[in-house]
Point group: C2
Chain length 151, copies 2
């Protein structure tokens, strides 16, 4: 799943990402980078709304797991179980969520749990930057649940 | 600030809330209740996108603090500092975020900190329900920072 394929998928299946004007800047083995402009995500103070920061960060991590499983042809759905976010500084312009792929060891443990037990859990961290500063940091737990068929 | 005033304020100043079709069901001394329909907030599985659940919950808590301070004529801006969210069950239709006002003791301690020290912090919990089940629970820390003038 390339960056443009992921972007089309998100805009089609999660319509609020189209309203956010979400762009996929990177989607490969190294990780996922998502960006969005300020205007549609602005708050009453002219900085980025916290909900949009959390949404972009959550999607970056979800996409790392989702596209990673597809790359290995593992048919599993990925759901976010919980997350924590620290809002460090206001984001004053375009904001960028970067989720680096987990270590090979963590990823192998996760995919083994999914394929052997039908269910695995993976913790990921995401950094959201804007104009060179770290605006927010999110840590989330994601669950992969294997299924049969092509649904 | 009535429910309809808060709704107009959010749609005007945080445009993503208009894209979410957010509705303010309640806004008074007892708390704030926000709702939104599934379609614009749907994910790839036909349930509510986690980012929309987190956004609605964050806004409900923010609104409790913001409208509570206005009610007492305390000129302070309110920002979310951190939050944790547990996603318990998929929300399959309209989703409703309820943030009950804090205890009088917690509220008085918060407003005293804001007016005396210029800055106070308040922790609030929000429940997001859908079709009678609890879909998500959010706990957030909000900071009130006093300012002079009418900005």
């Amino acid at each position: 799943m390339s960056a443009s394929e992921l972007e089309a998928y998100l805009h089609e299946h999660i319509p609020i990402t189209a309203a956010m004007l979400l762009v996929v800047q990177q989607c490969d083995e190294a990780g996922v980078v998502l960006a969005a402009p300020l205007p549609p995500n602005s708050n009453h103070r002219g900085t980025v709304f916290g909900g949009s920061l959390a949404s972009l960060a959550t999607l970056a991590a979800w996409a790392v797991v989702h596209t990673g499983l597809r790359r290995e042809n593992i048919t599993a759905r990925v759901v976010v179980q919980s997350s924590q976010i620290e809002y460090l500084l206001p984001a004053t312009g375009e904001f960028i969520a970067t989720c680096t792929a987990p270590s090979e060891r963590d990823w192998m443990r996760f995919t083994e749990m999914v394929t052997r037990k039908g269910r695995g859990r993976l913790k990921l961290s995401v950094e959201v930057t804007s104009a060179g500063i770290i605006a927010a940091q999110l840590t989330g737990s994601f669950v992969g649940v294997q299924y049969d068929g092509d649904s």
